[in-house]
Subunit: 179 residues, 2 copies
């Protein structure tokens, strides 16, 4: 995970993932699409969101150790469902100092702890977009088996009820399936 990797999330009519739901929870929606591709963007796409994997921004050593022990990687054969959740945080969030953001993120909102409750069922990869000049700050990609879809919904509901989510002013949630 050490070297940043640029990923393109391209919505349109082609791609390995079929869109089963596309919701806008805050701010401006994305144009509705039927397919999503994580391959390099192609002509005729409705939109492409870019993000890079990067180093941890809030995770502390004890949390990183616990995550590494419990999480599974992307691409598991049984993980035929996915979600792409793109969020933008407010100017007020970004004006906070590191310790203030960490306090909201974990001490108050338990973001890492909530995610831990759904490991190893839900695999995830976070992509940073803000410094690329993109319309969202983060794109998180999740993969899980159909039997874990309800658990995934529960996790997302818990996160959206946290103090951290009060700093989110744009959120698009795309659910996906592959055959």
């Amino acid at each position: 995970m050490s070297t940043p990797m640029l990923i393109n999330f391209t919505g349109g009519a082609i791609g390995e993932w079929r869109v089963t739901a596309q919701d806008c929870l805050a701010g401006t929606a994305l144009a509705p699409v039927t397919r999503l591709s994580l391959a390099p963007p192609v002509a005729g796409a409705a939109w492409t969101l870019r993000g890079t994997t990067s180093n941890h921004r809030y995770t502390e050593a004890h949390e990183a150790t616990a995550l590494r022990a419990a999480q599974e990687g992307l691409g598991r054969p049984e993980a035929r469902q996915a979600a792409m959740i793109a969020i933008r945080k407010t100017d007020a969030w970004w004006a906070l100092a590191q310790d203030e953001r960490r306090a909201i993120f974990e001490a108050e909102s338990h973001h890492i702890a909530i995610g831990m409750d759904y490991l190893p069922a839900v695999a995830r990869r976070l992509h940073h977009s803000r410094d690329l000049g993109e319309p969202f700050d983060f794109i998180t990609w999740f993969e899980y088996a159909p039997r874990d879809a309800a658990a995934f919904d529960h996790m997302v509901d818990r996160l959206r009820a946290t103090a951290e989510w009060r700093y989110i002013d744009r959120e698009v949630d795309v659910r996906l399936s592959r055959s």
Copy 2:
């Protein structure tokens, strides 16, 4: 500072800043140039380094308050000297968790505290490059009056003697002057 701003540092034969010294302290050097421009890159440049301003990564609230009270902005008429210091950190650094990096950065190396000792004489702006896929991770831009050049050298010497600098495997230091 809340919205990231992309800056191009272009070395070549044109630009508002004249190169007075160009040193490589670790890793591979940059091609020698006579001028540096912070305007959008032009044809014929020897190299362009890109970086974005961004949110604080280590600075805590009490430190941010102290910095805001003491620092001055770029572009002061008397600040006719500048330095562009580009660094890359090792894979070992980026594999550390947030608390481990913060401990090296400030508790052990006093990076913020050392910089504070040279305020308001030395104005600075940090640019993040790693997530852009650039050859360096950070580009720091400093401006100071000619009378403060010795103090600036002293600050850089102190930083290079810290534990944090053991995680730096490429460093280029370009000193500049404008008329």
